[in-house]
Symmetry: C2
Subunit: 111 residues, 2 copies
């Protein structure tokens, strides 16, 4: 049974997930969503209405670069690449995430 994950849990983590995905190499938006869903066994669902605004934000912040290209099957795609700033941000966000998970775990583990 797959437990549905509420959207507000994703809040503040979507960027981290996207940055991590792009750390493996350039990818286009749709591909990022598919990759994330695949590697989490569909535990995460990446809504397009969340993803595209997020990609836009991250581009504005200089974390990723974008350029138009063509996919293997001939579709017009926008390919995103991690910048140096993006790599720094990834490191940063992962540290925050770890620290947060750690804190919550400490609470949940109390007895």
């Amino acid at each position: 049974m797959v437990i549905p994950i509420r959207g507000d849990l994703l809040q503040g983590t979507l960027d981290l997930l996207v940055l991590k995905t792009l750390n493996w190499g350039p990818r286009h938006g749709y591909g990022i969503a598919r990759w994330l869903e695949d590697t989490t066994g569909d535990a995460l669902h990446i809504a397009e209405g969340s993803l595209y605004p997020a990609l836009y934000r991250m581009q504005q912040r200089g974390w990723i670069d974008a350029e138009w290209g063509v996919s293997e099957i001939g579709k017009r795609i926008k390919v995103y690449t991690l910048t140096d700033e993006g790599r720094a941000q990834l490191k940063n966000e992962f540290a925050q995430w770890s620290s947060f998970v750690n804190a919550v775990s400490r609470v949940m583990a109390t007895s």
Copy 2:
């Protein structure tokens, strides 16, 4: 060094933390915040502007009961108690949280 935790990470998790706190027994709002900050070594900061609205929401949803009382030092306090529904919600939210952390971990662990 303490890594500051962005507020959006807390989004969707504050309820879980409060429910878990109340699972140890009745507590008042201010006390809940202090307990959470203490047990996480101040990794989490519970803002009152987040906490009190959250308590109100959870009461409306039937997860917690509230009644006025007096603290050990004579202050007027509002004491919250977990309901059966709240206990069910705690179980539910913890399952979702675990599932989510698991999914993110799988992404972050890829190599």
